[in-house]
Amino acid sequence: MVEHGDIRVVHRGGSKINSREPVVTNDSRFLLCASGERVKVFSTSTEECVHDLRGHTDLVTGVLLRPTNHLQVYSCSVDGTVRLWDFTDGILIKVQTCSWLMFDIVCMCVCAELFQLVAVHLPQSGDQLVEAQELSAVLSNVSSNPAATGFGRGVRAPPLRSPNAPPGAITYPKTDKDNKKGGKNTLMCIACHPKDDCIATGHEDGKIRLWRNFNHKKEYTYTTLHWHHNAVSSLRFTPEGTNLLSGGLESVLVQWRYNQESERDFLPRLGSAITHIAVSPDGTLFCTSHSDNKITIIQSCVKVSAVIQGLVNGESVRTDLMVDPRSKSLVLNGKPGHLQFYSLQRDKLLYNLDIVQQEYIHELGLQQFEVVKVAFDAPGNWMATVEERKPKAAEPEINLKLWAFDEQTQSFVLNTTVSAPHEAQITSMCFSQAADGQTSMLVSASEDGHFKAWQLPRSAYEGPSWSCDFVGDYRGLAPQCCCFSADGSLLAVSFQEVVTVWSPASWELLTTLSQPPKAIRDLCFGRLGCSKYLMGTTASNLLCCWNLLTCSLEWSTSMDVSLLLSDPLTENMAAFCCQAESTDLFVFKPSEPRPVASLKAVCSGKVTRAVFAPREEMLESCEESSQWLNRSQLYFLTQHMLLQSPAHVLPSTSVLCSMFVESLLVSVADGRSVVHEHLVHVFLNNSHSDHLCLTLNVSQQNTHRL
C-alpha cells in the first residue's frame, strides 16, 4: 500500500483525442471520444468535457453507441474488456472480459503482426462482470487501420459469419489486386452507402472509387472521383446517403453529392490534416478529428461551430517546456507555426498563438517554419520566440520575434521581428532576470560562434522596438548554453568545454571556468541562497558545481545527467539521469552534493523535457523528502509524449494506484510505424443483435503483456 506522502509519478494529461473516430450521440448533444485509457464525453455546443468515463486499465481503442439503447455506449480497450457505459450520468454498467479471446488467437496464429476481424456475441445477463464466450472469426489478415474496415447495409449476423462472402468488409490486399492499375493506389479507407449497394474507397493517390453492385460477383462497376492531391484518409456517407464526405492531408472537408459527383462543396482551412470524419445520426453535425489532436464540430458542412483541442504533440517538442509567468500555463510548440498555452490545472488548451503568421500549406515534404525556441522574462511582459525553416540546399531562415503582453487583449502582441538574427541555428536563448524590472535583456547564442544581447532602447525617441546591444564571441567557438544569474548581474555562456562569465553591465569577460575533456551540455545558476553557485553538466557524465566567489570548482560528481533544471521559487535543482532504459530523478541544493530527494526509475525511457511549474497555493508539508514540492510541481515529458508530474498529496490510495498504472501507458502515435499501436479495434454491426466485431492484433508484445 502506498503511504500518505509518498512521491509518485502521475500522468497529468495530454492524451490523444484523435486516435479513434469520435461518436456523436443520437440527439447531437454529446460527442464521445477515446482519450488514452478513458472515454471523454464533450458537449457539442459548449466544447466542455462533461464526463470522464474511467475504468479501462489500458488504451481505449473503440467507442460505439449501443444500437438498442441510444443512451448507452460500448467501449473496448487493449486491456481485453468491453465496457458498457451510461454516458449521460457517467456510470459504468457492465464489463465484459474477452481476455481469453486473445490467448486463443495467439495460439492459432504464429505470425507476429496479424489482425483478425471477429464477431463476439455479447451475452445478455444481469451481472456487471460477464465473460463473452462466443467468438467467430470473420476475416483474417485485415488492415490494422480501422478506417479500412466498413460495414454495409443489411449486414446480419449469419452472412457475416460465412467466410467465403464477406458482404461488407473489404480487406485491402484483395482490392489492391483487383484493380491492377499499379502505382500508389493503396487503399486507405472505406465507407459503405447506407441504402444502395455501393462502396466508396479512398486511395493513397488521392482518388476515391465508388464501387457498385459489389454483392454480385464479377458484375461490379466503379467510377473514380479525384480532387485530393494526397492520400484520402477518411470517407463517410451521410445517414441518408445523399452526400459523401472525404478528407485528407489538405485539411479540406469535401462534400460530394451522391449520383451527382461533379458537384462538390468545400470547407477549407480546417487547420490540419483530417484523420477521421464522423456524422451525427440525424445528419446535422459533422465531426472531423485532426492530426493536431483536435476535433472540429461542423454544422452541415457550412460553419465550424465548436473546436475541441487537446495538447498538441507534434512530431517533436522543439521548444523547451516553458511556464508563462502570467497565466501559469505550460507553453510549447503545437500545431505548425503556433505556440500553445496549455492549462496544467484544467488539462485544457487555453489558446494557440500564431507565431509565424503565414498561410500553412498542407503538402508532404514541404519545409515549413517551426517555432524552435521560446523564452519569457520574469514578470511575463515579454516573450521571445525563434522560428526556423531549413530549405533544401539553402541557408536556413531564422526569425527572432519579440512579443509584448497587451493588458487589454490579455495576449501577446508582436513588437519586433528580427530577420536573420544569427547566421546559423540558435542554440540557446534566455532573458535576464533583472531585479529592477524596468529594462529587460535577451541573450541568444548561436552556432555561428556569436552570442548577441538584445535590448529595448531606454529612450523612447528610438521607438519601442528591440535592437542588438552587444555581440560577443570567444575564440571562434560555438556557444551552446547561456544563463543569467538570479539578479541579472552575471551571464554565463558555455563554449564547448569552457564556461565564460560576462558582466552584462559592461560586457566584460570576467572569468572562464572549464572542466575538460568534454563539452558543456547544460548550465544553470543557483537561486536565492545558492546564487553564488553555477551548475553545469558535461558530455563526459560530470555534474559540476562552481563557486563564483572563488572561481573554483566546489564539487563534482559523475552521473549521466540528461536534463538539469532549477526551480525558480526555491534553491532546489532537479537532475534527470538516464540509466539503463529508465530515468532517475535527483533533487538537490547546489550548496551540498547530497540530494534532497531521489526517485529511482520515475519512468522508462529518456526524459527529454521538464519544467518546474509554480503551485497556485503553497502546500504545508513538513516531511523532508517531499518539501521540495511545496512551492512548485515538476512536470516532465517522456519520449512517448506524456505529461507527467511527481505528486505526493493525492485524494485516496485507490485513485493513486490507478493513476500510477496510468503513467505506464504508452501513447498511440499516428501512422503505421509503431508496433504496439492499434492493438484491438472493435466494431459493432448495425444489426440489432448484440454482436461485436473485433479486429485483433496478435503480436509478440501482446503475449508479453498477458
Binding site: 470547407l267 482551412r269 503565414q358 519545409q367
Partner: protein, 505 residues
C-alpha cells in the same frame, strides 16, 4: 474556419531619411507656382529693397515680378538679342543687363528705354554687376575681357585681358568698391583691384567656372564649375578650403540662405542641394522637373525661385505659420459622422439580439491568386510594372512565398521571351541588393535550371543573361575587396587592443 493569411511584405528601414530641422525648414514651402517664360532662364536677381521684386532674364526679355504676383509687374524688352544677367543696383533703382549683341544696357526700373548703352565688348556679355559705390559697372564677356564702366558718362574706365577663355561669372565686393572677382572657362578665378591694372590673386578651379558667390563677410569665396563646388579662403591668399562633389552634372548656380548658414547649389542634374556651411555636408535636396540654370532666394528665405532650361520659372513661397499649422490640422480630420461615429456609443439593451457583421478581409490581387493556388498568375501580378519598379519588396515577398510553397519552379517555367526578359531585368536591378539577395539568388539559379535548354535561342534573353553574369562577377569582386578590408581592419583593431596580462602561474 481560419481566414487566409496574406503574404507578409517585409518592411525595410529607410536609411538616411531622418527628419531633421533642415528637412522641416526646407519642406515648409507651398506647392510651386510655375510660369512659362520665352526661353531658358539664365538669371534671377532679387531687388535689395522692399518689396523685393525680382528680375528674371530669359531670352530677349527681362521680366520683373513682384513678390506675390504671378504676372510681371514690368517687362524690359529693348534687347536686339538674348539678354543676360539682369542685376539690380543696391538701391533697387537701376538694373543692368548684358546681351548677346555685346552691348550692355542700363535701365531705370520704372522706365522702359535704356538709360545708358555701354559699347566696347566685341562678343556677348554674360556678366554684369554694380560696384558697391553704385557709380561703376563690371562686365565680363566672351571676348575674354572684363571691363569697368562709369555710369554717369558711359565711358570705359579699364579693361582687363587676363582670362584666356569666356568670362561667364563675376561678383563685386559689397564692402570694397575697388574689388571684384571673375570666373572664366579657362578654369581660373581672378581677384582684381580697380586700383591696379592687373589681377592680384588667381585661383585654379580645375573646371570651367559657372558661378561665383562671396560670403557676406567676404572672407570666403565659393565657386562652382563642372560637378565641383569649391570654397576658397581669400584671407589666406586664395587657399582652397573645401571641394564638394555632390551633383552628377554641371553645377550652374550658387546662392546663400538669408542667415548665411546654408549654401544652395543648383545643377543641370535637376537637383538643388542645401549644404551646411560649417561642415559642408548636404542637409537637404530639392528635385525639379528640368535642368536648373538659375536659382535665387528671397530675403528671409521667403521664396525660392528657380529657372530651368525648359523656360519654366518655379516660385515656391514659404508657408505662413497659420498654414503650416493648418496642414497638421487637416491630417487630424475627424472621421465623418455617418461612417464612423454613428452608433458607436450605442450600448445594447438586455433583450437585444446582436448580429455580428463579419469583417471583410481585403486581399491584394497576388494574395487572391495565391489563395486559389494560381501561382503563375500571382507571379505575373507581382511583376507588374508599377510593383516591380516602385515596390520591389512586394515582388520579392511573392517570390519568397512561392519558394516557401515549393511552387516557384512551376511559376517560373513555361514563359515566353518577353516575360523572361522582364524577369531578368528585375533580377539585374535587384539581385545584388543585400535586402533581396537571399531570396533572388536561389530564384536566379532556378531560372537558369529551367531555361538552360533554350539558352542561345533568343538574343534578348542571352544579352540579359550576360549582363547578369557581369553583374555577379563584379559583385563577387566587391565582396572580395570588402573581405580584404575587413581583414585589414581586424588586424588594426587586434593590435590596438590592450594586451591582457596572462598569469602563467
Amino acid at each position: 474556419m481560419a481566414s487566409f493569411k496574406p503574404t507578409k511584405i517585409q518592411v525595410y528601414p529607410k536609411l538616411g531619411e531622418k527628419v531633421t530641422q533642415d528637412t522641416l525648414y526646407w519642406k515648409n514651402y507651398k506647392a510651386p507656382v510655375q510660369i512659362k517664360e520665352f526661353g531658358a532662364i539664365t538669371s534671377i536677381d532679387f531687388s535689395p529693397v522692399a518689396p523685393h521684386n525680382f528680375a528674371v532674364t530669359a531670352f530677349t526679355r527681362i521680366h520683373i515680378y513682384g513678390p506675390f504676383s504671378q504676372e510681371p509687374v514690368k517687362t524690359l524688352t529693348r534687347f536686339k538679342d538674348t539678354a543676360y544677367c539682369g542685376r539690380f543696383r543696391s538701391d533697387g533703382q537701376l538694373l543692368v543687363a548684358g546681351c548677346e549683341d555685346s552691348v550692355v544696357r542700363l535701365f531705370d526700373v520704372s522706365g522702359k528705354a535704356a538709360l545708358r548703352m555701354f559699347r566696347g565688348h566685341t562678343k556677348a556679355v554674360h556678366v554684369t554687376d554694380f560696384t558697391s559705390d553704385r557709380y561703376q559697372i563690371l562686365t565680363g564677356s566672351d571676348d575674354y575681357t572684363c571691363r569697368l564702366w562709369d555710369i554717369p558718362n558711359a565711358t570705359e574706365l579699364n579693361s582687363y585681358r587676363e582670362h584666356t577663355d569666356y568670362v561667364r561669372c563675376g561678383v563685386t565686393s559689397k564692402l570694397n568698391r575697388d574689388l571684384f572677382i571673375t570666373g572664366s572657362y579657362d578654369h581660373t578665378l581672378k581677384l582684381f583691384d580697380a586700383r591696379a591694372d592687373k589681377s592680384v590673386m588667381t585661383m585654379d578651379h580645375g573646371q570651367p567656372v559657372e558661378s561665383l558667390l562671396l560670403y557676406p563677410s567676404e572672407g570666403l569665396l565659393v565657386s562652382a564649375g563642372g560637378r565641383h563646388v569649391k570654397v576658397w579662403d581669400l584671407l589666406k591668399g586664395g587657399q582652397p578650403l573645401v571641394s564638394m562633389k555632390n551633383h552628377h552634372k554641371t553645377v550652374t548656380c550658387l546662392c546663400l540662405s538669408s542667415n548665411g548658414q546654408r549654401l544652395l547649389s543648383a545643377s543641370l542634374d535637376r537637383h538643388v542641394k542645401v549644404y551646411n556651411t560649417t561642415n559642408y555636408k548636404v542637409v537637404h535636396n530639392f528635385d525639379y522637373a528640368a535642368s536648373i540654370l538659375s536659382l535665387a532666394l528671397a530675403p528671409n528665405d521667403e521664396s525660392i525661385v528657380a529657372g530651368m532650361t525648359n523656360s519654366i520659372l518655379s516660385i515656391k513661397h514659404r508657408k505662413s505659420p497659420e498654414e503650416s499649422a493648418e496642414v497638421s490640422g487637416q491630417q487630424r480630420r475627424t472621421p465623418s459622422y455617418r461612417v464612423f461615429v454613428k452608433g458607436k456609443n450605442y450600448a445594447p439593451k438586455q433583450d437585444d439580439y446582436l448580429v455580428s457583421k463579419p469583417v471583410k478581409q481585403h486581399l491584394a490581387k497576388y494574395d487572391k491568386q495565391l489563395r486559389t493556388f494560381n501561382v503563375s498568375n500571382s507571379l505575373d501580378t507581382a511583376l507588374a510594372t508599377w510593383t516591380r519598379l516602385r515596390k520591389p519588396e512586394i515582388t520579392v515577398a511573392v517570390i519568397k512565398e512561392l519558394d516557401r510553397r515549393g511552387t516557384l519552379k512551376n511559376a517560373l517555367a513555361g514563359r515566353d521571351e518577353q516575360w523572361l526578359a522582364r524577369l531578368l531585368n528585375f533580377l539585374i536591378g535587384n539581385l545584388v541588393d543585400p535586402r533581396f539577395a537571399a531570396v533572388l539568388a536561389p530564384a536566379a539559379e532556378m531560372i537558369l535550371d529551367v531555361y538552360r535548354r533554350v539558352v542561345g535561342q533568343s538574343p534578348l534573353v542571352d544579352r540579359q543573361l550576360l549582363r547578369l553574369q557581369e553583374l555577379l562577377e563584379r559583385e563577387i569582386d566587391y565582396q572580395q575587396d570588402l573581405l580584404e578590408v575587413l581583414g585589414m581592419l581586424d588586424t588594426l583593431f587586434a593590435s590596438s587592443l590592450p594586451r591582457l596580462e596572462v598569469d602563467l602561474s
